[in-house]
Symmetry: C2
Subunit: 768 residues, 2 copies
């Protein structure tokens, strides 16, 4: 853990400069607007430790796979989130001396991420040679209105001397990914120019041939008075475009540079239009000017918050945590483009690559269902539908046939791009989450047509996979699923992971149900799908029933728990709180074999299944499983605490629910697992939201109805959130005394609170 | 499979040039002399597919580890067998045209590896432009007398034209390993010279700073008449030393180049002496001349064969197979240097790296015990003793303490250098084989003092490891060993691998026995070891007994077999012969997960344990295990067929024993697993020898006595072999009618044949 962030309801504040913390801060203070994102790298030169990160949505590079020992079936490449040309840079020279915070004394440092208005601001005083002091103030944002515009305001004030300041705002294409497998650069620079009006850089990714164009304009002011920059030097090199602006700035005067960069990609523009369109965007930006751009941007964010905010009274840490999570999610994904998805690090780091994991279906879809209109979650589902053919190819590569699909563990374009056999080939439960998301979406939205339009085809391919992946064990007289990695990745290649067997059996059952539903709803479409998938109705539905109904589920009578996998109880049974702190997180301190043979659990596994299928089990069963597994769980996956928080709330263990809520919501802010410098855990942030709404709020959707069962931790005075449920927007306010539910938008709605049904009229509320 | 090698008792013959087979032939026709080895690369330029391979014993490079996803505990590097500067090269220019077999028609090609005299010879006719034909004959060897000398005789005869021939004999330091992780070169060239007398190249490995020096001299003859080469051009470039010798050679005349290269390494010479000593060796070689060098070399090899040969009458394929195996083993390791060991590919390829695997203890030690004096196997044991400290460090890295040792899976210098978690961290049974080799050595040689001198310290450290590695399972009320990879590497991270549990329990028991033996034999030394190892006698011996006696051994009553691991019977039970040929070998055709969850077995696993501990089990038990597991075994490890052959012989299944014998002995010659191009399976060749001596011959050593129980396959008329047992050398001859055992050397000996005791007087024999 590392807790240097100040407690504050609306802001993330760092008020002391530390070179050591800087890489973590670069992650924490990241900004994004769905189309691009930027780590909080300094504008000026910085020779300390830093991870440069400018990311453009959907732009990736297939980096040649690097493994020690090749296994058949490994993909040829790993799709990397790409560090794009750096648009943030502004070199600062003061009387010939380069400003570099790693090389001078820094005073009164403050870095603020303003979440309400979505910008970062940095203020500090630097002590240069001969005790020359300058005050610097830098502010930047990525517009959520003009989504291709990035803007920076950078002000230098010489405090105790007259300065010659040279501002060198630049765009730099000579960038690398730190995680490049073979230290290669992934970009070719197609074009750099620097004219009187505009500096321009156009880069193209190797192999994937995506183009990214950046057009820059700038202005300089002294004490608010615009300076003439017509004679500034324009520089265009091989991979670099810049201006050099030299200013005489007397003691106490403020020299301000405004930098406007248009960032466009070939995902949204024809290649031949990039230059023209980038120029036009940059021109539009400079015409509006920094203040106007920021004002419009801030207003839209304020508006966004009105819908999305969760308010917690009485606990600033909790309040800051949930806002940080909502903010980062909203920065990463806006749901408008079904070619995009939600990468585990969003726009905040390189690690893990890919953009799509099962996190999307298990965590992000529920978040989107309740916080956005149904198109957003539908787009996430259709993303997978569009990749079904590749999932079928992927399964064929692993020896499956008859149109069975295995969706990739990690992907950008539908092709698997992960390369650890125990994950790539064995963490197959991801297929279950994709089917579950279809169920979840239809259950939540009531959009039953989705099944016939898209869902059924996916469900058939997934059920086919599970049928083939299970085998009959004569020894057990049951179907078993051997050699898998469950959600708890601290076990590899295990047999009969309860979660996997459970979701596999459910998938086959649900696919059979879905067939019936579509058959009854639209026989033409049904026949079309049967033909398209070459479906042998009589045989396959029977096989699915057989495997599903005769699946083996490991169970311990002694503890009344489902066994995470066969032979889990052979392990030495210890609790995580017995682990010495110096050995935590164990994945940074223990060798892999030691982790594997220990009983310690990375993240919810059996409990993930009980979370998904809560209604199939008694509260008693859920309780005994939670009480057995939670103490063995080290929560070293970002996806762990939220599920634990929700189940703890369900079984009434409010203290545990609160502990786990804090952990999920402040995972990055307090850096629980010493890894914030690598980027933030974006997808798990949806889980944080769930831990309030589904956990404390007890929200569920069943049979076309919404349910609440509110609880409140003793640390809180109250909390409130909005949810969208079909045509209605509801506001839920919970304090220890009462629950108020307002029907903010939509017709009268009938809902269930604490097992009792209520009707709330349009624009009305009830208090309980 | 690929069977293009001609059947021949003493020679390996390829009589048709195929670019496709060439890389395999480069492996099969490899030569070596214990100090260096050489793949059968062509001397002249060759633009076809080829793996250049010149290897110098003990010279390795720690190549930076390449993995996709780092796991705690991985070593920083992988020790690579190094492709050294190329000493074989002779560029041939004929009237300005470069000879390159990939670019001209090749007729009457024959390549012969003469195993009796240990040289390779190549004859062919090349059709050059304008139908110019030349006949080429090339012969080379690595002297087993002058072990730092390599010699080549290369003759060109223009058949239908007068030729200007340019011979360019060279040494080339611009070499690479194909398996270099980051395409780096591993050598720095320190020095190249080319004077009138000698071309010289001195290379140094990066990081490890080994030096290798090569000094070259040469002669040219036409029709046997020495030519004046005083005016030949000497060339010394950055990484290259050579001569250019231009010869007018009339139609039908034979132009011959003799090339002598001294190859010295800093393992055996001081750096500052390398140049001088290499020159002196090269001079000695040219003085002796090619024919004399070859004659001396051949004579020594003939002599070697007298001791080591196994003769098989009536089955040329079998005869050729065993000779090839013995020959390659003898080329690789001579047993004189306890810094060296026996790499899995010897001097025939790069793959696998390292020099020391558990192959050494499980296969090579038994071979050495019977075919060489006991110093050789003792040296192999001491090699591990010297690395005990590093094995203790290695175990500590994985979380073990109290002086527990885990010997590396792959090593050059005692440090682990493999990096697959499922192997590096989990294939821990290797520790058992190292203990077993100590037992085996003492049992065979009667050298009981070895225990107190070296063995006990190793046994204590190994027993300590097993004690900590096992854990008590409350569920089973037994000790279990979780998360291992057994000898069958087609299962990873399994629980209670029977072989591992068995050898672990045995190690602890044997360590306790060894303590008693040493205590009684030499109390001073005993106390010294107790002090050195900080041994808590009362506690540790009791713990070892407890874990050893209460170990869990998975067993199936239904089949009366030991289970390879927990839940093995949950797998779909199939036989290997049901696999379509196009899917074999499965490790080249199936994805890894499919292999893992199948019942198919790579190599002896339960059967390896029954082989080691045969006397602890009834023949009935061994039979039912063999009959269950062998049909499920795909034998895709070179170490598999030999053990199966031995056990098949033991249980009287002579047909299976013969089938497996052919497979082990001709594994590379017939390329069963489509991998001969990568190099030969050197260590398993010891297993081939065992399959005759221990398998068909039924040789065992128990209670200081040697036992035989001869069988003979119906395909053979007779077979005979020599074994050294303590002071005696015995010759065993077996035909279907009789067995003759001669006491070739040593005093009278009492031995057991077919369960009956006989006395054979010195120099006498008995016939049964």
């Amino acid at each position: 853990m590392n807790t240097y962030i100040q407690e504050n309801e609306w802001n993330i504040v760092e008020d002391c400069f530390s070179q050591e913390n800087h890489p973590s801060s670069e992650s924490l203070f990241s900004i994004g607007n769905g189309l691009m994102g930027q780590r909080a790298n300094f504008e000026e030169a910085y020779s300390g430790k830093s991870l440069q990160g400018s990311y453009v949505a959907g732009i990736y590079y297939p980096d040649k796979t690097r493994v020690g020992w090749w296994k058949n079936g490994y993909p040829e490449y790993f799709a990397k989130v790409l560090n794009a040309p750096n648009w943030t840079g502004i070199d600062i020279s003061i009387n010939g001396e380069t400003l570099d915070l790693a090389k001078c004394e820094v005073k009164d440092f403050q870095r603020v991420l303003n979440m309400k208005h979505a910008y970062i601001e940095r203020n500090f005083t630097a002590v240069l040679s001969d005790n020359k002091e300058i005050k610097v103030s830098a502010k930047r944002f990525l517009s959520i209105i003009d989504t291709e515009i990035a803007a920076i305001q950078y002000t230098v004030t010489p405090i105790n001397f007259d300065a010659e300041i040279i501002f060198t705002p630049y765009i730099d294409g000579d960038v690398r990914n730190e995680d490049s497998n073979y230290d290669e650069q992934f970009w070719t620079i197609l074009n750099t120019t620097a004219s009187k009006n505009e500096a321009y850089l156009e880069a193209e990714t190797l192999k994937t041939k995506f183009q990214v164009a950046m057009a820059m304009r700038y202005e300089v002011e002294i004490n608010g008075n615009k300076q003439d920059i017509a004679n500034d030097e324009a520089i265009a090199k091989d991979k670099y475009s810049a201006y050099k602006s030299t200013i005489k700035c007397a003691k106490g005067e403020q020299a301000t540079l405004y930098k406007y960069v248009a960032v466009l990609s070939s995902l949204n523009h024809k290649h031949e239009d990039l230059n023209k369109n980038a120029s036009s965007q940059a021109n539009k930006a400079i015409e509006k000017g920094f203040e106007t751009l920021l004002a419009e941007h801030s207003k839209k964010w304020e508006n966004e918050w009105e819908h999305s905010d969760i308010k917690i009274e009485g606990d600033i840490k909790s309040q800051q945590g949930i806002r940080f999570n909502i903010f980062q999610l909203k920065q990463t994904y806006t749901g408008e483009d079904d070619r995009l998805n939600i990468g585990p690090k969003g726009f905040t780091g390189e690690k893990y690559g890919g953009s799509t994991y099962w996190d999307t279906e298990a965590y992000c879809v529920p978040f989107c269902l309740s916080t956005a209109n149904s198109d957003v979650s539908r787009n996430l589902l259709i993303y997978r539908y569009k990749q079904l053919d590749k999932a079928i190819e992927n399964a064929a590569k692993l020896g499956f046939n008859n149109g069975a699909a295995l969706f990739p563990m990690v992907t950008m374009n539908g092709e698997e791009c992960h390369n650890e056999w125990e994950i790539t080939f064995e963490e197959i439960h991801r297929n279950g989450a994709i089917a579950y998301a279809i169920y979840n979406y239809i259950n939540y939205t009531g959009d039953k047509k989705y099944l016939q339009e898209y869902g059924l085809e996916v469900l058939i391919a997934i059920a086919r996979f599970w049928k083939q992946r299970a085998n009959f064990s004569a020894a057990k007289d049951k179907y078993v699923i051997l050699g898998v990695t469950g959600p708890n990745e601290y076990e590899n290649n295990v047999n009969n992971n309860w979660y996997t067997n459970t979701i596999a059996a459910w998938c086959m059952k649900y696919a059979n149900e879905a067939l019936e539903i579509v058959k009854n709803a639209d026989e033409n479409r049904f026949n079309e799908i049967i033909a398209k998938t070459k479906f042998d109705y009589a045989v396959e539905t029977k096989e699915w029933s057989d495997v599903s109904e005769n699946m083996y589920f490991p169970y311990s009578e002694k503890y009344n728990i489902f066994l995470q996998q066969d032979n889990y109880l052979d392990k030495e049974q210890l609790c995580a709180d017995a682990l010495p702190l110096c050995e935590r997180p164990i994945n940074q301190n223990w060798s892999w074999d030691r982790i594997l043979r220990s009983c310690f659990i990375k993240q919810a596994d059996v409990l993930q299944g009980l979370y998904f299928f809560e209604d199939d089990y008694s509260l008693e069963t859920i309780k005994s499983n939670f009480n057995f597994y939670e103490p063995r769980t080290v929560h070293e996956s970002s996806l762990s605490p939220c599920v634990h928080s929700i189940i703890a709330a369900l079984i009434g263990d409010i203290d545990k629910a609160y502990e786990q809520y804090l952990r999920t919501s402040r995972l990055d802010l307090d850096d629980y697992n010493d890894e914030a410098h690598e980027g933030l855990h974006i997808t798990s942030m949806a889980g944080t939201w769930m831990s309030i709404v589904q956990g404390f709020g007890g929200m569920r959707v069943k049979n076309d109805k919404v349910y609440f069962k509110p609880l409140i931790p003793s640390q809180w005075k109250s909390y409130s959130f909005n949810v969208i449920f079909r045509e209605n927007t509801l506001n839920v306010y919970v304090s220890s005394e009462k629950t108020i539910i307002k029907n903010l938008h939509g017709n009268d709605i009938s809902l269930v609170i604490n097992d009792k049904e209520y009707l709330i009229k349009s624009n009305d509320s009830i208090t309980i």
